[in-house]
């Protein structure tokens, strides 16, 4: 083969082949691998009204803070309100109250309740039962 000339005679092909239907299947295979259209992601820091969102968030926090502070102050009733509620609104009678008093409560009541002599006299005058005993 000492006189071999590449450009003389029939062209030599590379000799490569492909599996059957390779190119027919290739297109479908490839199309499935292509990246799908994705919603464009805009980074948060690139958004113009980021300062606006931050301000809105701040205002909401302040408003909620004020709301909770004021409502918690109002929702804390004083002693008189509780007393009035128990007497006039709640379905609680004297017996129920007594049932819930322990010895310490009674001692405290005895110390705090000041009954003057006139009151005792009035009570005794109106309560005949006890006088008869």
């Amino acid at each position: 083969m000492n006189d071999f000339k590449l450009n003389e005679g029939q062209k030599i092909t590379p000799g490569f082949t492909t599996p059957d239907d390779y190119f027919e299947n290739f297109t479908n295979r490839l199309m499935q691998q292509l990246p799908k259209h994705e919603a464009k992601v805009v980074p948060l820091y690139k958004r113009k009204p980021v300062w606006f969102s931050a301000a809105a968030g701040f205002i909401i926090m302040i408003t909620l803070g004020v709301f909770y502070t004021t409502t918690s102050a109002v929702s804390q009733p004083d002693d008189a309100a509780i007393e009035n509620y128990l007497v006039y609104q709640a379905n609680v009678n004297s017996y129920d109250l007594m049932q819930n008093l322990d010895q310490q409560d009674i001692d405290e009541l005895e110390e705090s309740i000041v009954i003057n002599d006139d009151a005792i006299k009035d009570y005794l005058t109106n309560e005949d039962v006890y006088l008869n005993e």
Partner: protein, 180 residues
């Protein structure tokens, strides 16, 4: 050129993109396969590179400025992908690019998708003995029958230099075949 502009517009329009890209793949898959196969030699490797090429084309379509022809742009991507593939394979196996080529060449006779005779195999061996740039020029001119002007645009080399390169390649190949 006007047609190409219209076709690129279709490729970029989300509504027509799918159909247009299918058309592009149908048009280019065979010649690109041949181009890549002459570089990487193995069928499965060619399949990988061909897919990567089209995916890269798809991803970079928006950035295609039309400064060169779509044809040369796609071929340039395919060439780069094929050469990068060989470099990566070489790095992964701690061998040189030439050794990767040599291994591919040695396994060619056992390849199910190579039906070349003794002369065809010898021609492949002769081509592999050339420097990389000469190999590319020879393959594109001789096997793929591309015009010098197109090869010039793909490889970024002047037509004159390509002609000289091809001439040298042919001489070396003839010498190789005559002496082996």
């Amino acid at each position: 050129m006007q047609d190409e502009k219209a076709f690129i517009a279709q490729l970029l329009n989300p509504k027509t993109q799918d159909t247009a890209f299918r058309q592009l793949v149908a048009q280019y898959s065979r010649p690109l396969y041949s181009h890549i196969r002459t570089i990487v030699l193995d069928h499965d490797d060619t399949d990988d590179v061909l897919q990567n090429t089209f995916i890269k084309v798809f991803r970079n379509l928006a950035g295609f400025k039309g400064e060169s022809k779509l044809f040369s742009w796609i071929y340039r991507i395919a060439t780069n992908e094929a050469l990068t593939f060989i470099s990566l394979k070489a790095r992964k196996n701690y061998i040189s690019n030439e050794e990767v080529n040599e291994r591919a060449l040695n396994s060619l006779p056992a390849d199910d998708y190579f039906e070349g005779d003794a002369l065809q195999l010898k021609l492949q061996q002769a081509v592999a003995s050339l420097p990389q740039k000469q190999q590319l020029v020879f393959k594109m001119k001789y096997f793929e029958d591309l015009k010098y002007e197109d090869i010039s645009e793909i490889l970024g080399t002047s037509v004159g230099a390509l002609k000289a390169s091809y001439h040298h390649a042919v001489k070396k190949i003839e010498d190789y075949i005559n002496n082996h």
